[in-house]
Symmetry: C2
Subunit: 571 residues, 2 copies
């Protein structure tokens, strides 16, 4: 090995500064934009401002820092101001608030929060990456000590201190969405008794209710108290330091800690002041280059409205992945390179007390909201790997697709292992406008501990193919309680005896060829089994025998989830 | 709940048999074909023949049954002859060997292996799904007691008995491919000392050598003895029951058990006898409908040649996923429905003593073999999830893509968690002819325990984009030992001191802006860091300063793997 050559200590070269780019907000989108821009353009001056004490911290890690899963605060700091300077020659001003924009003068008025001093920052290009702020409803007591939101490292530091110093035993999480459930996970990890108060009748609002019910079941089983369909009315501070969360129903929940996780709202104060266009969803309007109406001002991240590629509508989607990509695209645009954000498809995952919940694309309610009518859905409950290999656990999967062209519109999955893998595959397929045929044809990894020769994604595609081809006509689940059709459970008698649809008779698939003539030809026959497979076989048989046979997708397992979600009435 | 309606006991309806379909081979492709065909056509007669005692068993589970991971033989039986009869009205004849085909008479001559009786089976359509047989080289001793292949349940039963009854302590696995490594995994699980003898200089022949080296490192660390680059010469049976495996090098390995996992060969005896076309790779030639040259004869599964969508060449690929899909397609074709097999992309995974190895698409050597010249490759070593969340472990990833159009050609990944997920995503992208831009843009699941805001797949795409755009010019790794370029390690001095490329000098990225003028402008500068990221930053900086800077993809980590794989010489 040769010795390292000696290097002399030459003076620093100064780059001629051609342009000055100022970025407001140094997390995710802002930080990505700054770093990418420097890689593309060594000559420009890049200044990043952030209101908080840190830039480029891992805000998606904050709940886990509260939960002591992440024990070292330093590990949340993805990049420091020092690193931005040393690696990228980027100037970072923390604890610096942007006050107003003078677009004609291309000047930003900022305040140093430590000194209180106000100054002007000239820009040639301005990037707004202010993020989104937790919604704090104007209700009595929301500012009481012990009531917290989770947005910044200082926030989480306060929550940790509150838990440790007061030996907190009980917590109420207001809001059952992503952040709310991540807080549930982490407060349980700290050993707290946790109650979730959620105004909607379900957890995980992006999911359809019958999919979210699997999460609720699991959390209840793990000892979490759920108050669904009940909103926050007020918070009362008791003498002695306890808090009482008063629900809209009048229910009173005594607790030691309240986490507000109701949702977030795009930070648009600066953009509004600057006269930039704010869209109907409350976010800054940008073009595919992430440029606002002002050619010198870009905006990225949680504060902007983005195009939903599934529904064709504008939306706000406060997620780190799209924010990072937008930052990169704004940098490309500023550097004069081609760049276009392709829109979002809302791929997301959350882990909660051992369970994984993931989705991509549109939900059924999202399609309905967007006025989409020609779609169908299938349910399935395959094992996460081959059934013959020990330890397979069900993934509850819902696939939505366009009729009659079969374009994949969205998927939701809930389970314990391999859940987000399947959603990532469907997400990738959606990116290319895949049809259900493509899902059926996907060539995915298979060894028994990882998947199956027909992966759950393949099976979802094959079931949907059968629907589109007319080989398997679906029965509408919401008609099951009052249909005139004959309901037939095709499982074995002992399975039927353990629980079945009201009014369903039992004709096991294994006897169907002997007994089908018992079935009435004048009525529709709706077939049900455990998860939909045997009923599909029976559907095919009966259809070929001239019956008007339909399959109840996902079988008795789906029935249970629909019923627990309140989507099918009792009789 | 309504009571179940009473059903009367009507006589079985007899279906008019219009056509007779005979399927030779009842596992994977054959079984899928039979079941699918019945669902499409209730009226035809379906007969499945298998030489073995079972149909539709989980042959991918066999190694795990040897390993006692799967403890119950019954769980390997996906479907029994009884189930085929009851559910599908399919006749199964096990222990029945197909002897010859009379294509003019559309008749198959078969022998009942129990009675020895020979009979004719008439067919309207014949499906050949005979699979592939383990290669048993014609060497001395390969038939000695204690030498086994792993193809059938009886095979594995014999191996289990051999291990249990002889209290076997040592095993030699001949062949380091998929089956070989699965046997290593399982024999280790049984507590045996395991030696692998592999004729090639690497494990996992489908992978490129520098990727396979990670597997070899891991196995050695786990106490497995590897003899690479050494083939089997003979096996000697010792008195006392021990065996000696004699390698081509002359090495003698004493052992109690030998597993032959050299590879498999398509079973084409019947097809050859019938005069069907056999392709250059030794498999039965079929069209996209899985039809052979004879319009009444189809062939599916491990015995057929398939079209590799990446290289455009014909190949044999003995994997269960494609076999199942081919069975389904043959059924569609027989039922007169549209059907076309899209070819294969060779997606595969293997788990070995805690490590996961997965790949999809073409390998570098596969591209070279196919005469493809315009491609590039990048290496990366990202954590399997966000670095700030505890427990992130590296995934070693190689991405191959077409130049200049950026089409993704293949990916290989080795690591411990989240490995096959990334390969499944790339596999799905390849299915759609994706470019590296698409990988960069993929919107995948992110929460800190599952991934990163920039997922490893995104990062792979972004790195490749930088290569294609010319923003990051790659240095050729195979030139590193004799290049005239200046090698510069941009890590911090303590990292450099712990190990670096021969002849590399150290100019940390953090000091590059002060010190770059030290570097010679007349020579190329090849930059290296730990995994390639900091060197990329330095490459961008220096390129903008007018240097001919190149990045050594994957950094010192890739260097180590190339060196251990023997692809970079010592100095």
């Amino acid at each position: 090995m040769h010795p390292a050559e000696p290097v002399s200590d030459l003076p620093r070269a100064s780059a001629p500064s051609s342009r000055r780019v100022v970025i407001v907000g140094g997390v995710a989108g802002g930080a990505s934009c700054a770093a990418r821009l420097r890689r593309l353009d060594e000559s420009c001056e890049i200044v990043v401002l952030d209101r908080g004490p840190y830039v480029s911290f891992a805000n998606c890690g904050l709940p886990y820092y509260v939960g002591n899963v992440i024990t070292d605060e330093v590990s949340l700091l993805v990049a420091s101001a020092q690193m931005f300077r040393d690696r990228f020659n980027i100037t970072v001003h923390t604890e610096t608030e942007a006050l107003s924009v003078d677009r004609d003068a291309r000047s930003l008025r900022v305040r140093d929060l430590r000194s209180g001093q106000v100054r002007e920052e000239h820009y040639d290009a301005l990037v707004l990456a202010p993020g989104a702020a937790p919604i704090r409803p104007a209700l009595a007591g929301v500012d009481a000590p012990g009531v917290f939101a989770v947005r910044s490292i200082p926030d989480t530091r306060l929550i940790r201190a509150w838990i440790d110093q007061r030996a907190v035993k009980r917590a109420v999480v207001v809001g059952g969405g992503f952040i709310g459930l991540e807080m549930v996970e982490n407060l349980r990890h700290r050993g707290l008794e946790v109650t979730v108060l959620e105004k909607l009748g379900q957890l995980m609002p992006p999911l359809d209710a019958e999919m979210a019910v699997w999460v609720a079941d699991h959390l209840r089983e793990k000892g979490v108290t759920l108050c669904l369909g009940d909103g926050l009315a007020a918070i009362e501070a008791q003498s002695g330091g306890a808090l009482v969360v008063v629900a809209e129903s009048g229910a009173r929940i005594e607790t030691d800690l309240v986490i507000l996780a109701i949702g977030v709202r795009p930070e648009t104060t600066l953009a509004r002041q600057a006269g930039l266009t704010i869209g109907p969803r409350g976010g800054i309007v940008v073009d595919p280059r992430m440029c606002t109406g002002d050619p010198n001002i870009y905006a990225v991240g949680d504060a902007v409205e983005v195009h939903d590629v599934l529904t064709g509508q504008e939306t706000v989607l406060p997620l780190a992945g799209p924010a990072n990509r937008q930052g990169r695209i704004a940098a490309q645009a500023i550097a004069g390179r081609p760049a276009a954000f392709r829109g979002v498809q809302a791929t997301a995952v959350v882990g909660v007390v051992g369970m994984t919940v993931a989705s991509t694309g549109a939900s059924e309610k999202g399609l309905v909201r967007a006025g989409v009518k020609n779609f169908a859905k299938v349910y399935l409950h395959p094992g996460h790997h081959a059934g013959y290999y020990p330890g397979a656990r069900a993934i509850h999967l819902k696939l939505l697709f366009s009729v009659p062209d079969g374009r994949v519109l969205g998927a939701q999955a809930v389970g314990f292992e391999g859940v987000e893998k399947r959603i990532d595959v469907v997400a990738t397929a959606i990116q290319f406008g895949a049809t259900v045929d493509d899902l059926a044809d996907a060539e995915l990894c298979y060894a028994p501990q990882y998947g199956a020769a027909k992966d759950p994604v393949n099976i979802a595609g094959m079931i949907a193919q059968n629907v589109l081809s007319g080989d398997m006509v679906l029965a509408p689940w919401d008609g099951v309680s009052d249909t005139d059709a004959l309901l037939v459970d095709v499982r074995e008698p002992e399975e039927y005896a353990a629980g079945h649809l009201p009014r369903a008779i039992n004709v096991p698939l294994s006897t169907m060829r002997e007994r089908y003539a018992e079935l009435p030809r004048e009525r529709e026959v709706w077939l049900c089994c455990g998860v939909g497979q045997r009923a599909y076989y029976a559907t095919r048989f009966l259809a070929q025998k001239g019956y008007r046979a339909r399959n109840l997708s996902g079988g008795y397992t789906t029935y249970g989830s629909l019923k627990r979600a309140g989507l099918i009435g009792s009789e």
